[in-house]
């Protein structure tokens, strides 16, 4: 079976004065129908840039390259702007973190929902309106006809994100790219939106690429996970592999830095990762995480670290961790 989306060795460079920011450095991604792929990383890790590169929505001047970037057999690298515009919003939908900035405040919800459908499907006003109402109901917004007449500012954050999801699903895309869809929402609303995404996925069979910094969201929703850092994938595998037995110290340290209820009963301090994400302007040698890693040895800073795979669990580390995390608890 062919992959829905298959990307090999994706690179994104953003020229700046006197050099370039290498935001994405050789990322491989693929996704099948009905699958949830989570890309997790901190800010500046290149997770958003990867998805923008797929959509050809990179900031002006940024350059993307890849050995392969195919969507259902179509080579996205060779596709014209027009061809891409036809796919974008139709075959590949996208939602962003802050629905307020992606919704146009000057137009009603209905107007914006219908525009997508009328443009891609050449549908009439009435059909588009019906479709919009159908989608709003699908994403759990009651009183849809009234909502269509409202402006974005009249809705709560959770509702706005539901509207964004509805909009991205207007044309029944094959892939939905969700870039931090719940980061601006309340925790209880976040759970509802994640449930919604899961439900829609089973109902419609779409593939979801979920980009987030929240390991909790990833662990609870992902089929497969890619942990990115400084524009590279450091660890990838199923959620169970990556979170159950994290092999890369970066994944392990990220897990340690999460405040988890109950942990405080031991009065344990949070394990912060010292330092910050490395500058992406220069090419570094060796492992990108070496400077912040407590397991780093001299060779980590000098030798190229390839991604090795064991049972589909890939990690780029010379001195991997072995400690199991939640595995023992699984029987409880």
């Amino acid at each position: 079976m062919t992959k829905l989306l298959d990307i090999k060795n994706l690179r994104v460079e953003i020229p700046i004065q006197g050099g370039a920011v290498h935001a994405v450095r050789g990322v491989d991604l693929s996704i099948d129908r009905g699958e949830t792929l989570c890309i997790v990383g901190e800010s500046g890790s290149g997770k958003s840039m990867s998805s923008l590169a797929v959509m050809n929505l990179l900031p002006k001047g940024a350059h993307r390259s890849a050995d392969r970037m195919s969507f259902l057999g179509t080579d996205l690298l060779r596709l014209s702007h027009r061809g891409m515009a036809r796919i974008r919003g139709d075959r590949i939908g996208m939602i962003f973190q802050e629905p307020m900035t992606s919704l146009n405040p000057a137009y009603t919800i209905g107007n914006q929902l219908q525009e997508v459908y009328r443009r891609h499907r050449r549908a009439g006003r009435a059909a588009a309106r019906d479709r919009a109402i159908e989608l709003l109901e699908l994403v759990g917004i009651p009183n849809a006809p009234l909502r269509l007449r409202q402006y974005p500012h009249q809705l709560s954050g959770g509702l706005r994100q539901r509207v964004m999801i509805a909009m991205s699903l207007m044309c029944e895309p094959d892939i939905l790219i969700a870039d931090e869809p719940t980061s601006a929402l309340d925790v209880t609303v976040q759970v509802q939106i994640l449930h919604l995404l899961k439900d829609l996925q089973t109902k419609l069979g779409i593939a979801v690429i979920l980009i987030t910094h929240d390991l909790g969201v990833v662990a609870r929703t992902a089929d497969r996970v890619a942990v990115v850092y400084a524009g590279q994938i450091l660890e990838t595998g199923t959620a169970r592999q990556v979170f159950g037995t994290p092999r890369h110290p970066y994944t392990a340290r990220l897990l340690d830095s999460m405040p988890i209820p109950g942990m405080m009963r031991l009065r344990r301090k949070l394990q912060a990762i010292p330092g910050t994400v490395p500058s992406l302007t220069n090419d570094f040698q060796g492992c990108a995480f070496a400077a912040r890693c407590d397991r780093a040895r001299p060779e980590c800073r000098t030798t190229e670290v390839p991604l090795v795979r064991e049972d589909g669990h890939g990690f780029a580390c010379l001195h991997p961790e072995t400690e199991a995390r939640f595995a023992q608890k699984a029987g409880v």
Binding site: G158, D186, V218, R220, M258, P259, K269, L270, I273, F326
Partner: protein, 348 residues
């Protein structure tokens, strides 16, 4: 003004012991705040009840956490505690003195804020050092060299490298900016820090750094804190006591550890369950909260949580619950104590 603040000496010999010394430094009694929203032309204006009869206290050297969703009134409480907003009813006392009677300058010296987005609260045209010196200038504390010394010491204490002292906010990362905001808040040696979602804009690894920093500073300086967050995991890490707010009311309050082990209010349970731990075996929690959203302009009758509550009975729809004492916590729920075992409490 004299220079009492210039030594970064703890205010108390043992700040941890201080928790036992139950004298409230900041106390809010029955505060309420209602905003009038204009409905536009030809429409009726509506009332938004942001805070409804809330009582809170913060002891010396202690952290009081406030947790709740957006629209629950937690930020309004923060603004009222900071004196940025006047409550319609109720009173706030700082060390026994009504804050309405404290001069503005003195109040701002004794109660300092740390907000969520350090970028929008730092002046982009001021260097880091100038930013921290500024409050000392405004309040005319000490002379120029001593202000400079104090600012440098604070910046060092919050973990900023010396080479960044002359940097501007846009040259710093989010975590570093929040460090600057914390240093600035501490510059005047306040009695109490009001932190409104100070880590929500940060990455997890950086959030951990900032939370640890806040805890270290509190241990070293003995400053009391009100810490507002929507994340119970974060609250648990910093707060000694926690107040759970829902639609302008404190629905449950108690000692953090006990409250986390035995949450009695259904809303507290839902909040606790919605903290997604990175355990791949668990899947998404089923919150049972229904589809309705809390709307502070239209507060339900009876218990304001009843439309979303899975346990509701007819009593909940009719009468508002009075706070009840259960296991040392104060809970506003008709059914408190009779909800059965919490799903989370057993995992441990």
């Amino acid at each position: 003004m004299a220079l009492p603040a210039f030594t970064l000496k703890p205010k108390h010999d043992s700040p941890r012991k201080q928790v036992c010394d139950m004298t409230a430094i900041l106390e809010a009694k029955g505060i309420s705040r209602t905003y009038t929203l204009s409905g536009g032309m030809m429409k009726k204006s509506s009332k938004l009840q942001a805070v409804r009869d809330v009582s809170l206290y913060v002891n010396r050297g202690e952290t009081c956490g406030i947790v709740g969703e957006s629209g629950c009134g937690k930020s309004t409480v923060a603004r009222i505690l900071l004196g940025l907003e006047q409550p319609d009813a109720g009173q706030i006392t700082l060390d026994g003195q009504a804050i309405a009677s404290i001069p503005r300058a003195e109040l701002s010296r004794r109660v300092q804020p740390v907000f969520q987005d350090p970028y929008s609260t730092l002046n982009p045209r001021r260097s880091i050092l100038e930013t921290v010196i500024h409050p000392l200038n405004v309040h005319k504390v000490g002379d120029a060299p001593s202000r400079d010394r104090r600012a440098r010491k604070l910046l060092d204490q919050v973990g900023l490298p010396k080479r960044s002292f002359h940097a501007f906010p846009n040259q710093l990362s989010g975590g570093q900016r929040q460090r600057v905001a914390i240093a600035r808040a501490l510059a005047l040696d306040p009695d109490i820090l009001v932190c409104d979602e100070p880590t929500s804009a940060l990455d997890v690894s950086i959030q951990a750094q900032i939370l640890n920093l806040i805890q270290d500073l509190q241990r070293d300086l003995g400053v009391a804190m009100v810490f507002i967050s929507h994340n119970l995991g974060v609250i648990e890490h910093v707060a000694d006591r926690v107040a759970v707010m829902y639609l302008g009311r404190v629905v449950e309050t108690g000692e953090t550890r006990k409250l986390m082990q035995r949450p009695e209010h259904p809303y507290t349970r839902a909040l606790l369950e919605s903290v997604l731990t990175p355990d791949p075996e668990l899947g998404l929690p089923d919150l049972d909260l229904g589809r309705s959203f809390p709307d502070p302009t239209n507060i339900p009758s009876g218990c304001s949580f009843h439309p979303r509550c899975a346990f509701r009975t007819s009593v909940c729809e009719d009468s508002a619950p009075e706070p009840r004492q259960i296991h040392g916590a104060s809970v506003e729920c008709h059914l408190a104590g009779n909800l059965g075992e919490n799903r989370l409490a057993t995992v441990d």
